[in-house]
């Protein structure tokens, strides 16, 4: 079969393309996708795009950007060209993610217990002293299965040589999985022909796996624990996802004022039938707002006494408070060591090389080469406070240099990765745009990894920032078994 002419124009010089670059192995899948796309005129492609936009609107997909004031819904930009990952590569990534999260959970448990890793000189004590996510209220707690981060979202990026790296781990309240699920539903609706002759692995088991994970944490016995999802409410950026997941799992979506902790240390929710005991809480509220008795006393998002109930083992919280201690860009740099220390294994997925400004030598290097590096504060997410050296102005660099000098331990730097691209539909037809990938890893008595994950795409030409809050969109992510495709024969 011939490769459609579009192949070459889709590859951006100096970058790895997800669909086009691994030409030999990927060819059957890529040519099939491109063949369907090539058979459509720009007008037809636009029609499909419009159909997708309409589907998004009617499905009510939206996300919130804090700065948008009263207009709290905005359609989540969706690109109709799928991002393809081959099954054999995915299986390796899946193993790597399970390995990583297992080690991180061991680390968190150790940090809140004997801190053996510090005594053994593998991990420096100052990182913890400095950590804004270390919670002394968690010391001595032993959550079920030794798991603290039950739901983890790790961000993966691919460099120019095709190597997949972990860019960061979101161990607190990662979001985005609902978009992964809805993106697939939209694709099946608007491009059914792409699914017809290919073995694209389904993604829809996630809500059931999440429910299984949460139910396993039930501390109170009984076959039907009351599980709830605690949301900060309708003005939260991920409210759509909270409501979607609660609905998919058939559990109640609650807000802080719906719950209360009584003197027996159990958590109850207020219902029209009176108070009902709650066994497991999937909380999508940050630690600091979780319990006004212990953390921010001003918080109206949390539940007074919740930490007391959790410490007493009367309710399970997922993720556990304090899990964020390992969700810190300084800790990140130590993850390969953490894996070796707890598991005695080599990391399957590498870290992006990282300079720590806490080290004077590395800091000097960072400040000297700031125009070529990406500089990140240790405890921010969503791309806030980030400086991308090559795209920055001298004034922005001066500001970041001053911040780094003032508090070097709070900063790390990484090389500016040539983030891989994948064909994306633009006003001028298909063009390469940069992507990352956020798979989700569930851990309790067993582990699950999403099939693929959420692919985020920087929709602006040349942009490397994929965050939805800063002009990013998303794509459906396919894990494809290319071998079964060959076996099925290619009659088309």
């Amino acid at each position: 079969m011939g490769v459609p002419h579009a192949f070459n124009s889709l590859k951006l010089k100096g970058f790895y393309d997800e669909l086009v670059s691994p030409a030999r192995r990927n060819e059957p899948v890529a040519s099939r996708v491109l063949k369907v796309l090539a058979s459509l005129s720009q007008e037809e492609l636009d029609q499909r795009r419009e159909a997708a936009e309409l589907a998004i609107r009617t499905m009510g997909i939206s996300f919130t950007v804090y700065s948008e004031g009263s207009a709290i819904d905005r359609a989540w930009p969706f690109d109709i060209i799928p991002r393809v990952i081959l099954l054999e590569e995915w299986q390796r990534i899946e193993r790597g993610l399970k390995q990583r999260v297992t080690a991180l959970n061991r680390f968190i448990g150790d940090v809140y217990a004997d801190q053996q890793i510090i005594r053994d000189g593998v991990f420096p004590a100052w990182v913890l002293e400095k950590s804004v996510n270390f919670r002394e209220q968690c010391v001595g707690v032993e959550p079920p299965f030794g798991v603290w981060s039950h739901i983890c979202g790790s961000d993966l990026v691919r460099g120019r040589d095709g190597t997949m790296y972990v860019l960061e781990d979101n161990l607190r309240v990662p979001s985005g999985v609902s978009y992964m699920l809805e993106n697939r539903a939209i694709m099946k609706r608007i491009f059914p022909e792409l699914f017809e002759h290919q073995d694209i692995h389904p993604v829809g088991e996630y809500p059931a796996q999440l429910h299984t994970t949460l139910a396993a944490l039930n501390p109170n016995g009984g076959d039907h624990p009351t599980i709830v999802l605690l949301t900060p409410g309708i003005y939260n950026s991920a409210y759509f996802e909270h409501s979607y997941l609660a609905q998919q799992m058939g559990i109640d979506l609650v807000e802080g004022p719906d719950l209360l902790v009584q003197s027996d240390d159990y958590v109850y929710m207020k219902t029209i039938g009176g108070l009902q005991r709650v066994d497991v809480i999937y909380r999508r509220v940050d630690d600091k707002f979780l319990d006004p008795e212990v953390f921010n006393p001003e918080s109206i998002l949390g539940v007074a006494g919740l930490m007391r109930a959790w410490r007493a083992g009367k309710v399970a919280l997922a993720n556990a408070p304090g899990a964020g201690v390992a969700d810190d860009k300084v800790v990140y740099a130590f993850v390969p060591e953490i894996i070796r220390y707890y598991l005695g294994e080599e990391p399957i997925i590498p870290n992006v090389p990282t300079w720590q400004c806490a080290d004077p030598e590395q800091c000097a290097y960072v400040l000297e080469n700031i125009a070529d590096l990406v500089i990140k504060p240790a405890n921010e997410s969503g791309g806030y406070g980030l400086l991308i050296g090559p795209h920055s102005t001298p004034a922005q660099r001066r500001k970041t240099i001053a911040q780094v000098k003032q508090d070097p331990r709070n900063w790390i730097a990484q090389p500016c990765l040539n983030l891989s691209t994948t064909p994306t539909l633009t006003a001028k037809g298909l063009a390469p745009r940069h992507v990352d990938l956020r798979p989700f890893i569930l851990s309790a008595q067993e582990q699950f990894v999403t099939t693929g994950g959420l692919t985020r795409v920087a929709l602006r030409e040349g942009s490397l920032v994929v965050n939805s809050s800063q002009g990013g969109g998303s794509k459906d992510t396919w894990v494809v078994d290319a071998q079964s495709l060959g076996e099925a024969g290619d009659s088309a």
Partner: protein, 321 residues
């Protein structure tokens, strides 16, 4: 068991939807009546502010109580909680967090109503033709929503809370309208209304969409005593106090922990049943007092209902004691 907070959203969704529609009906019939009155008649638009019980809010911010001032206040004023604009807006906001439990057609119809109210309300204040169109548009859209509700929603707690909210709101509006009209009543007018007063009582009927039904049931000319009797005691007209309260009572029977609410509703029904319009008719002051008593009772039932089901912290403290 349904979360109290969610139940409260359903309840208020029902109330706001009914309030938007009732306010539109009231303004429509009033605008219609004004066309029949001589130019220098004594009717004042301010009466609408009195009916909706919002004198304080109105007086605080408005100097002129003429047509434009009152209509702006009741139709499109974003600062007035009871304007049609805000009733629709709050109705939609209550729906946002419960939309996963409501038929999709209803959510779409609610969005459509909101888009209509947001786009058309302000243009309808000054021009009467546009106003009539707008008010009819609001009523039609509320009815569409109600059609979807009745036709495609399961009879479950969510449905009951919406309908109870609607019935209590309706009772509130019906008694308010009568309360204000009865205020002007002189003893001999109860049986023999002057011509323009008859028009105003017809307006009362129309504002509750009761004119045609009244004519069929009561056969004949409009008498204050019979209008009051019809609107209080009819057990077949769906906007009468008797009908709305007994509907609310029957719906409450399906809810858990309903004893205190049922007892209060039964007491109210008993009082409404004892309401002897004709006997009171010769003595308007007594009639007014009787209406006031019933209004106070309705307001107490609303508090009791909220207290019982919505479990605000104050309610919980008491429950635990």
């Amino acid at each position: 068991m349904m979360l109290s907070r969610i139940a409260e959203r359903f309840y208020w969704f029902g109330r706001y939807l009914e309030r938007a529609e009732n306010t539109a009906r009231l303004l429509l019939s009033y605008s219609d009546m004004v066309l029949d009155l001589p130019l220098r008649s004594r009717v004042g638009w301010y009466q609408l502010v009195e009916i909706t019980g919002s004198e304080a809010a109105f007086n605080k911010r408005n100097k002129q109580s003429g047509e434009t001032g009152v209509l702006h206040f009741l139709i499109d004023d974003p600062e007035h909680a009871g304007s049609i604009y805000n009733s629709v807006k709050y109705g939609r906001e209550n729906l946002r967090t419960i939309r996963d439990r409501i038929p999709r057609e209803m959510v779409e119809a609610m969005n459509e109503l909101w888009a209509f109210a947001a786009d058309e309300s302000s243009g309808s204040v000054r021009r009467s033709a546009a106003r009539m169109r707008f008010l009819r548009g609001v009523i039609d859209r509320c009815q569409t929503l109600r059609g979807h509700l009745r036709g495609s929603m399961c009879r479950n707690d969510a449905y009951y809370f919406i309908c109870i909210g609607r019935m209590l709101e309706r009772t509130d509006m019906t008694t308010r309208i009568m309360d204000v009209r009865v205020d002007d009543l002189l003893p001999d007018e109860v049986e023999n209304l002057p011509a323009f007063d008859a028009l105003q009582w017809m307006c009362v009927l129309r504002s509750l969409s009761a004119y045609q039904m009244y004519q069929r049931e009561m056969h004949g000319r409009v008498r204050a005593s019979e209008v009051i009797e019809f609107l209080f005691l009819s057990d077949s007209f769906p906007r009468s106090v008797q009908y709305a309260v007994s509907s609310a009572r029957n719906l409450c029977e399906k809810l858990p922990r309903n004893q205190p609410v049922l007892a209060a509703l039964d007491a109210l029904l008993a009082h409404v049943g004892e309401f002897k319009t004709r006997a009171l008719a010769q003595e308007p002051a007594a009639l007014r007092r009787a209406i006031d008593v019933i209004q106070a009772e309705i307001s107490d039932i609303d508090s009791l209902f909220s207290h019982n089901y919505f479990l605000h912290d104050a309610a919980l403290m008491q429950q635990q004691q």
